[in-house]
Amino acid sequence: MAVTAFVYPTGMFPTAFNKEVDLLTDAIKCALATSTYTPDQDTHDYFNDVTNEVVGTGYTAGGATLANDTLTYTAGSNLYTYDADDATWSTSTITARYAVVYDSTPASDATRPLLLYQNFGGDFTSTGGTFTVAWNASGIFTITCA
């Protein structure tokens, strides 16, 4: 199913311009949250705002680090795209509604900038199998420079 990524504007942009985020050098993680988490794009800026993180076998609090991340610039269209390998949790037993992508390198949850979240549109479950968040083949998010 196709889902839409939603940027946390107050998490991504001010922190990027303040040099709190280094997409390619920092450890960017994908965490999972249950349906009881309510994302707020106006007020959620750091990871301590994310509640109801998933708990279950095969899932470590804080989520999984996104491997092999890259930035792509598309000339002519002025597009910047961030991409990485799919996030996976093998032999896991978990149920999740949201994926939250954030910069985990700063010292505490209160200083770890939120970048974006995805609403799966319903609960998805793994039972002793692999839970995968498969990103769009063209990337995780794109910023258009107008």
Binding site: L24, N68, T74, L79, D83, S138
Partner: protein, 117 residues
């Protein structure tokens, strides 16, 4: 015994695959949307159908690099002082990151099966 630096091996692979024309920058431009290659070949009716599909979120498949406008990589620059490299297409588009990530991303088209849709 001197062990080869894995980054050096990755850079060698990047450069040789670049010379072979096997690497592509995958843009976020879907082939069937404005700016995409298929868009240019569509008539007004087909374009309207595409726009309708996007407007109603019945978006075309997004799961393969073949669904997106791709640009052949013509040179590899770097590494810079942080160890990052850039794979450039002739129009100036590029993918940047550490060598392993850049290799994986630019080689996705080569490794992906061509989809039926």
């Amino acid at each position: 015994m001197v062990m080869a630096n894995p980054n050096d091996q990755t850079l060698t692979s990047l450069r040789s695959l670049c010379e072979a024309g096997a690497l592509y920058v995958i843009t976020p431009i879907h082939l069937c949307q404005p700016g995409g290659l298929h868009w240019e070949k569509m008539n007004a009716e087909q374009r309207a159908a595409c726009e309708q599909a996007v407007a109603t979120k019945q978006v075309p498949p997004l799961s393969s690099p073949y669904h997106f406008d791709r640009r052949a990589v013509t040179r590899i620059d770097g590494p810079d002082d942080k160890g990052r490299v850039r794979g450039f297409a002739s129009d100036g588009s590029y993918t940047e990151g550490y060598p392993a990530g850049v290799l994986k991303r630019l080689a996705e088209t080569m490794l992906a099966e061509k989809p039926k849709v």
